[in-house]
């Protein structure tokens, strides 16, 4: 039992929790904006894997993680642009197209990876970390929480940016109107299609960034299907958070902790199938839903394409 509660173990656990939580956080925050604006973005898994692949390729050839993040976000935006064109502008079914994009991108990245690296699975060097002065020196917690790549802190700061955007800005108002009553936004003189497109593109950028982080910092490697449902987890987080960014953060940390626990237990040589621990966050959420499942508070127009003049 000493192994389980040693400082090293605890530190690794918390560090891993943050690392695992960041992609979920980014995906969840991205998805949240789409949902607020009335688009159920099931294609987010595809955006993530696209970001993971292109992000990895860019970082691998340039040697710069930041370039990797940039390209990851761009890949996510590119997939999101297709989604926006098909589902927002043309009004095709969001679930069908979303699943199609996810399958397609999973296949495409696996294909490209195969031809590019022909099963060599190259690794990236470990990411450089930014230490937060003073805080980083706290025993156990310091190295676990305050010695991460800079993008980690930026992602957490983004939570508060989103709170500000939703509460205090015109964009926040427009997004909510686009999800709750798009016709009202339209007659107020704001282009609903454009507002929703912006939201979907933002989702793509965040998902792509999350994917790039997952591959470049989290794993240091790209393998096909590496996202393994992280995008879907983002959807779950966004839906459970009901429009509040802080809840996405809390949810992401909870899921991250469970994922990290899986790895940590393996490292510690504890003989419980990882699957049991992987089930924990889902069990927790399902129990919460059963206990507190209540109606309401999803945008009224979620999932419905907007067409001017149609009632």
């Amino acid at each position: 039992m000493t192994g389980l509660f040693s400082e090293v173990f605890l530190g690794a656990l918390l560090f891993g929790a943050i690392t695992a939580a960041i992609p979920l956080l980014l995906a969840g925050l991205g998805e949240q904006m789409s949902e607020k604006a009335g688009v159920l973005n099931i294609g987010i898994e595809g955006m993530m894997i696209g970001g993971a692949y292109l992000g990895f390729v860019a970082a691998f050839y340039s040697g710069s993680l930041w370039l990797g993040f940039l390209f990851g976000a761009c890949a996510g935006i590119a997939v999101a642009a297709l989604m926006a064109l098909l589902c927002v502008r043309l009004g095709l079914n969001q679930i069908v197209i979303g699943i199609g994009l996810t399958l397609g991108l999973e296949g495409l990245t696996a294909l490209l990876h195969h031809f590019q690296f022909s099963r060599s699975y190259p690794r990236l060097p470990a990411a450089e970390r930014t230490e937060i002065p003073l805080l980083a020196d706290i025993p156990v917690l310091g190295p676990a929480l305050f010695r991460h790549h800079l993008i980690v802190y930026l992602a957490i700061a983004l939570v508060f940016v989103m709170i500000y955007v939703y509460r205090r800005t015109q964009l926040g108002l427009n997004l909510q109107a686009a999800g709750d009553k798009p016709a009202a936004l339209d007659v107020a003189g704001v282009d609903v299609i454009r507002t929703r497109t912006v939201a979907v593109l933002f989702t793509g950028a965040m998902a792509g960034l999350g994917g790039a982080y997952l591959a470049n910092v989290g794993a240091g490697i790209f393998i096909p299907f590496i996202t393994n449902g992280a995008g879907f987890l983002g959807i779950v987080l966004a839906m459970l958070a009901r429009g509040r960014p802080v809840w996405v953060l809390l949810g992401a940390l909870l899921f991250g902790l469970c994922l990290s626990l899986t790895t940590a237990m393996q490292v510690a040589g504890i003989n419980i199938p990882t699957d049991v621990i992987q089930m924990l966050p889902f069990l927790a959420v399902m129990v919460m839903l059963v206990a507190f499942g209540r109606r309401g508070s999803l945008p009224a127009a979620l999932g419905i394409p907007y067409e001017r003049g149609a009632r």
């Binding site: 015109q170 108002l173 709750d180 009553k181 009202a184 107020a188 003189g189 704001v190 309401g296 009632r311």
Partner: protein
């Protein structure tokens, strides 16, 4: 408006002019070469039945739709109005028939919608301007309130305020009185007058002749997409109300019909106490839902052949009453008896089978399945019952045969029995619903706003159907927000407010005043 005696043939220049504007949709011509001139300081009433093309005309003025032919001039210059944003920039503000506010946002947030997205909403400036406009025009709204908590009348004021905040020069009000109390309608009329005096142009759309005569400076009459006549301010001033109504009726129907055709003979009949009630409700109670009112202590009785009206402002529990009677909404207390037999605990299908029928006001929303064929829609309340289904298997021949009979008997105009019902007009859908609820042993029928959204011909036909089934001995409960309809149809009228019946009056000569007093919370 000055009442200068010599008529000014040119008058003020037009603010907005429509020149031979035509709008075609698949299969119909919604507007056909309409000319219209809208001037500052005038309340211009657009009068017409449903389907006359009023809403399409508004759609084009507010940038939602583009004319197929013809042009719109703003300030004398031909200007295509390309989007709602463009319309707002041109100073054209619209208050739509279906409220265009975001229910989950506050009034202030709704008013701020449409600003540049990167800016912070200017809440302080808004407050000052709203207060100023409110003071001059007598509009008062709570900026901090959530829109979903406001009444429809209050929401309408918010929309008017929004149009004024945007410095509109032209304010369009689309069917704005259909949800208001008699007093609310008078208030709106007075507000329009003040706005016109402040130099705004007002376009007021309605299908009610009396409102047109009372509020309009200029009246244009639309019929089947064409403008069939216009009464100028000069003529309006020289005519009395009855003469105006007579003239409009002539324009709309081509002949002197002798007053408002909607005004029918009152049927007030006395029903002897000795006759046992067919539909009897005692202390019916329904708990309030989120956003819907509950019912408490509702009691009434309807005798065979009698029409009992339920008046009241929309949203006071009328729909809940109808749904509780139909078995669609669970009651928490009280009893419902049909010919002495308790209905409590029975489901919709069972009540329907025993003869308790409910004709919903939401024809496409819940009454029918728009994508299903006409034939199936006749039998939605009988799914699984013989002869249309045997052992759970659909009997297409039996369904088509009966559906064909009903189509003929109720004069439904449909290309075929296979046509998806959603493609039919509102009037034909209503006929199908009537057929469904009347057929095979209706004993008590609940109507919820049966003529809402129908054109005149279908309105009159529907009312005749209601009278006929009552004459045939059925008990009829007629829920309507249209007081004229109730006065023209019912034997007695109950008024509903906040989920309870606040009084019942016999439909005698003084019924209008007494119902009106009950509706605004006074004793009859």
């Amino acid at each position: 408006m000055t009442s200068a005696s010599p008529p000014r043939p040119a008058g003020k220049p037009d603010l907005v002019t429509l020149e031979r504007v035509t709008k075609r949709f698949p299969g119909i011509v919604a507007n056909n070469a309409v000319d219209l001139s809208i001037r500052a300081g005038e309340v211009h009433v657009l009068l017409g039945e449903n389907g006359a093309g009023k809403s399409t005309l508004i759609g084009m003025l507010s940038g939602l739709q583009q004319p197929t032919e013809g042009r719109i001039l703003v300030g004398g210059t031909p200007t295509p109005i390309t989007s709602p944003r463009h319309a707002l920039a041109l100073g054209i503000g619209t208050v739509f028939q279906h409220m265009m506010l975001v229910p989950t946002l506050t009034v202030a947030e709704n008013l701020l919608l449409g600003g540049s997205w990167w800016r912070r909403p200017k809440a302080g400036e808004l407050q000052a301007r709203a207060a100023e406009i409110g003071r001059t025009l007598g509009i008062s709204v709570d900026l901090g309130a959530r829109v979903e908590d406001l009444s429809l009348g209050e929401q309408q004021q918010v929309e008017i305020l929004r149009a004024l905040l945007r410095d509109s020069r032209l304010l369009i009000l689309d069917e704005s009185t259909s949800m208001l109390t008699p007093k609310g309608i008078d208030d709106l009329g007075a507000l329009m007058r003040r706005l016109a005096e402040n130099g705004l142009a007002i376009v007021f759309i309605t299908h009610k002749l009396k409102e047109a005569a009372a509020f309009g400076d200029r009246i244009s009459v639309l019929k089947l997409g064409r403008k069939v006549g216009e009464i100028t301010p000069e003529r309006l001033r020289s005519l009395g109300e009855d003469e105006i109504v007579a003239e409009i009726v002539e324009m709309m129907f081509g002949a002197r019909a002798g007053g408002d055709p909607e005004e029918a003979q009152r049927t007030a009949r006395a029903f002897p106490e000795a006759v046992a009630p067919l539909l009897e409700v005692r202390d019916l109670a329904v708990p309030a839902g989120s956003g819907t009112p509950g019912l408490s202590g509702v009691s009434f009785a309807v005798r065979p052949g009698e029409i009992l009206g339920i008046a009241g402002i929309d949203g006071n529990g009328q729909k809940q009453l109808a749904e509780a009677l139909a078995g669609q909404l669970a009651a928490s207390g009280g009893t419902i008896r049909l010919a002495g037999e308790a209905m409590d605990g029975l489901g919709v299908g069972e009540r329907h089978r025993k003869g308790l029928r409910y004709l919903t006001d939401d024809r496409l929303g819940e009454g029918t399945v728009g994508s299903f064929p006409v034939s199936i829609n006749f039998f939605l309340k009988q799914i699984g019952t013989p002869p249309f289904w045997r052992n759970g298997i659909e009997q297409t021949a039996a369904i088509d045969k009966r559906a064909g009979e009903l189509v003929r008997a109720y004069d439904v105009r449909t290309p075929s029995l296979e046509t998806p019902i959603g493609r039919l007009s509102g009037g034909n859908i209503q006929k199908i619903l009537i057929a469904r609820e009347f057929a095979d042993g209706a004993r008590a029928v609940i109507f919820n706003k049966p003529t809402y959204g129908l054109d005149l011909a279908n309105t009159l036909a529907t009312r005749q159907r209601i009278r006929d089934i009552a004459t045939g001995g059925a008990a009829v409960l007629l829920i309507s927000t249209d007081l004229e309809e109730l006065l023209g149809m019912c034997d007695r009228i109950s008024v509903m407010a906040s989920g309870a019946l606040v009084g019942t009056v016999d439909n005698a000569a003084d019924a209008r005043t007494r119902v009106g007093r009950l509706m605004i919370g006074l004793a009859a």
